[in-house]
């Protein structure tokens, strides 16, 4: 006893304190990430709910339930981490939502309008917690004020009239088993005039969960499962019987045809009311429980249908993205080691004395390569997130802009299921917000100007994402005033970005806005219709191995097209040599490679051109572009045809050394930006190899081209 007490009372050692602090910090991170997840889905669901409300369509009960559960989990989570204000706020939101889903609160009640604000307040408190400030005093004051608002709104709202279920002739044993929520749903469905039925079915004990979820899914296609109850009816040995109280838009016969579960009985409880009357009085007593049609479907042995599994919702876990980064790094290092083994295999195999060992190791290397590829694909797949995540954030930005600027702009998304690496998605948010903000601020005219130009008053910004091979293409299109090329030209001259004699194509002229230093002045942004910082957009994209282009029609609008690799983590690279050095060219930008004899290259107006299946292609020597020594220009060389967006270019190199997986690393040191080089990669032999920035080189070449 005494020993135990001393142990308990002993002051914690420094190490213990540090450990406690570290675990607290880690816990806090877990809390923030979990809470962020919940709030994100809450925001998303609430915006859907608002859309439903504005469309005057009935609310999806599953959606309302999901929102309720989110608020509930957030309350629990906040309680666990002693976030007092967040907990109280979540509790009040949960109360409102509970009332809403039980029909005690009307959808048009002022209380529902408070939900948005409540979630916004939670988000702001969470940001303070994340910043390590905890719940600030202001947070608590704001929370108290908000809760008071809720209470006032609750007091002011009138509860909707409730009906008496006894008016409907439903089996009292069933009725007694219903929860308050289920009762409310029954009310709702009766009020809507839907057909109510009881579906009894036997399931094998061993697999009843699957059978039940299949059956529920089948019902959900045509209606709603109000309640799932263990049935009183006797079930055969090793089977279990369930009754589903269902409401649907089709009649029972049709439901019977749809269900493929054997041993299923469907009893009609209340036939559909064609008038879909809103008043429960007029339909009461009509044909309730009068007909007890029984449709037997025993012994039918159809293949179980493929329904979307309901259980998958509970099978997801949230993972800290840093853990994934660590895994990805490990995989990257394994790939490098594997490349090193490949080198050894090559050396062993080329020497007759060790060729047999080489072949043996080669086999293992091959198997390792295949498994590593699977591992890589698996880890990459885990990192993939849908564009929807960005789109949701953009909607919020636009909602705020709409409020702040008083412009009416519609945001339209497509391709929200297009998947991208989480890292890229994170890095893409800022450029996209920037572009949307630009369109909003500068490109979209005022309503009066729009009407004068014969456009609808509301502006439109479309954001489209689509996958194209190993790339994702994202377009941001607005129907604003377009860009003034004259103003761009004037600014570019004024800022010394181009010399007067340069005659640029329209496309290159537009793309001048991506030049660093362009349009850093306010008056430029107002004339060009573009804000500051487009160079930042481009450098953001380049750092991810992507590119950006712009097209615009005066008076009609502007489209910015971005191309990004699906993942950054591992890149397939073509290794080439020029002189003594090796370089890596991202495979994603390589269209093809071919052998070129000196005679294959033609000349026209001082340009070297290659005839590629009838199409003249500009030829550039990588050695000259990089200003390094080439082996020889008279010998046979290799051509690497690269393409960025619309532009294509043929790069001549001395030799092709093969294709390898590479991990691009930024180059650290005093030289901040190395033109033409995107970074460096480490290959199996521990040497750094420079990665060619194809988009920078093509842009440079094309600019020189136009200037010439």
């Amino acid at each position: 006893m005494a020993v135990r007490r001393t142990k308990k009372n002993r002051a914690p050692t420094r190490a213990e304190k540090a450990k406690a602090a570290a675990s607290k910090k880690k816990d806090l991170r877990a809390f923030v990430s979990e809470a962020e997840g919940i709030l994100e889905s809450l925001l998303e669901d609430l915006s859907v709910l608002q859309d439903q409300g504005s469309l005057d369509s009935p609310f999806d009960p599953d959606l309302v339930n999901r929102i309720f559960r989110s608020a509930h989990s957030l309350k629990g989570l906040a309680g666990m981490f002693e976030m007092e204000a967040m907990g109280r706020l979540a509790h009040h939101l949960e109360d409102i939502l509970d009332g809403f889903r039980l029909g005690r609160v009307n959808a048009d009640s002022p209380v529902i309008k408070l939900l948005d604000g409540g979630v916004a307040l939670l988000v702001s408190i969470l940001s303070h917690v994340e910043a390590g400030e905890g719940e600030t005093d202001e947070d608590i004051v704001a929370t108290n004020g908000f809760i008071q608002q809720i209470e006032e709104a609750v007091a002011a709202s009138i509860p909707p009239p409730s009906d008496d279920l006894d008016a409907f002739d439903i089996d009292p044993t069933v009725l007694r088993a219903l929860t308050e929520y289920e009762e409310h749903r029954l009310h709702e469905n009766i009020r809507k005039g839907r057909e109510i039925a009881l579906v009894d079915s036997n399931f094998d004990m061993a697999s009843f969960e699957d059978g039940l979820s299949d059956l529920s899914a089948a019902v959900r296609e045509v209606g709603e499962v109000i309640s799932t109850l263990p049935s009183q009816g006797a079930a055969p040995e090793s089977q279990i019987r369930f009754s589903l109280l269902v409401a649907m838009d089709i009649n029972v016969e049709r439901l019977g045809e749809r269900l493929e579960q054997p041993d299923t009985e469907i009893r009609l409880i209340r036939a559909a009311q064609s008038g879909k009357s809103d008043s429960s009085e007029s339909v009461a007593g009509d044909s309730l429980g009068l007909s007890e049609e029984v449709i037997k479907q025993s012994g039918k042995t159809a293949e179980p249908r493929q329904f979307e599994s309901l259980r998958s919702i509970g099978d997801t876990i949230r993972v800290d993205v840093r853990k994934l980064d660590e895994l990805m790094n490990l995989v990257g290092e394994l790939v490098i080691q594997r490349n090193a083994i490949g080198d050894i295999v090559g050396k062993l195999s080329s020497d007759p004395a060790t060729a047999r060992t080489g072949a043996g190791l080669g086999k293992i290397h091959f198997a390792l390569k295949r498994k590593l590829k699977e591992l890589q694909a698996g880890v990459l797949d885990v990192r993939m997130v849908p564009m929807r995540q960005i789109f949701e954030r953009l909607s919020r930005v636009v909602r705020r802009l709409r409020r702040d600027l008083g412009k009416d702009v519609e945001l339209e998304f497509s391709g929200s299921e297009t998947e991208l690496d989480k890292l890229i998605v994170e890095n893409l948010v800022d450029p996209l917000v920037h572009l949307v903000r630009n369109s909003f601020d500068h490109a979209i005219e005022t309503p009066a100007q729009r009407v004068a130009a014969g456009k609808p008053t509301a502006g439109k910004i479309c954001i489209r994402a689509m996958q194209r091979g190993n790339h994702v293409v994202i377009e941001v299109e607005d129907d604003g005033r377009g860009m003034d090329t004259e103003a761009i030209l004037a600014t570019a001259r004024e800022q010394g970005l181009i010399v007067d004699s340069e005659d640029l194509s329209r496309r290159d002229l537009l793309n001048l806005v991506f030049e660093p230093g362009f349009s850093t002045r306010d008056e430029v942004s107002s004339t060009s219709g573009r804000g500051v910082g487009m160079d930042v957009v481009r450098s953001n994209l380049s750092s991810m191995g992507g590119s950006v282009e712009l097209s615009s029609t005066a008076g009609r609008g502007t489209t910015v097209t971005m191309r990004l690799p699906i993942t950054l983590a591992i890149m397939q690279a073509l290794i080439v040599s020029v002189g003594d050095e090796r370089y890596a060219i991202p495979i994603a930008s390589v269209l093809e490679t071919l052998v070129v004899e000196p005679g294959d290259i033609g000349r026209s107006e001082g340009q070297e051109l290659l005839n590629l299946r009838g199409e003249p292609l500009l030829v550039k020597r990588l050695a000259e572009e990089l200003e390094v020594e080439s082996a020889s220009r008279d010998n046979r060389q290799f051509a690497v045809v690269v393409g960025v967006g619309e532009r294509r270019l043929c790069l001549l190199v001395d030799r092709l050394l093969g294709q390898q997986d590479a991990v691009i690393k930024p180059i650290k040191g005093p030289l901040q930006d190395i033109p033409g080089i995107a970074g460096a990669a480490e290959l199996g032999d521990q040497n750094a190899i420079l990665v060619i920035d194809v988009s920078a080189i093509t842009a440079e070449v094309s600019r020189r081209q136009d200037a010439a």
Binding site: K665, I667, G669, L671, A680, Q686, L690
Partner: protein, 180 residues
């Protein structure tokens, strides 16, 4: 001796000529990290290196690691003082030729050459190639003298060791982490 006192005494050293003001910042940054020893005297720890046969010194706390010379990958279209990049455990770091950056004649390429990996601001790192690395020299702060560095603007201080004078390099100036 308290920290603020040492800072004051330091600014007494640097205040008289206006030319010193720009350098005071980096010098005082080096002061902040140097620790007082048990006797209460302020010591500065310097890594002594050799460049073209002459001793130079850099602040020890800026040194991340010292590695043997390994194959360098040249960077096209880069200035002469940039020797290239090396891969260091998953990091790719530029290596600067310290002699060429300082504008002194390069020493002979011999086996004592090393790459010193230095910390810059934040997580910036850079490598510098030196002809040799000798040792860490602990010198009393009072024994550090201002220097006009002959014609080397990157040398702002020096110290005496026996009958030798060691030039202390201001790394921010050398490497251009602080804009010229």
């Amino acid at each position: 001796m308290s920290e603020s006192n040492t800072l004051d005494s330091h600014s007494n050293v640097t205040a008289p000529t206006p030319d010193w003001l720009g350098m005071a910042r980096s010098a005082s940054a080096a002061l902040n990290v140097s620790a007082a020893d048990d006797c209460g005297e302020l010591l500065r720890e310097l890594l002594v290196i050799g460049l073209a046969g002459n001793p130079y010194a850099i602040a020890v706390e800026r040194v991340r690691e010292i590695v043997r010379v390994r194959p360098l990958t040249r960077i096209p279209r880069s200035p002469d003082w940039l020797l290239g990049v090396v891969a260091l455990r998953g990091e790719v770091v530029e290596v600067v030729d310290l002699c060429s950056r300082l504008g002194i004649e390069a020493g002979e390429d011999n086996r004592s050459r090393r790459i010193i990996v230095l910390h810059g601001d934040g997580n910036r790192v850079t490598g510098v190639m030196v002809d040799s690395v000798s040792d860490v020299y602990r010198v009393n702060e009072d024994d550090i003298l201002p220097s006009d560095g002959f014609d080397l603007s990157a040398v702002v201080e020096m110290c005496r060791r026996g009958n030798q004078f060691i030039s202390i390099l201001d790394l921010d100036r050398v490497l251009g982490f602080v804009d010229d």
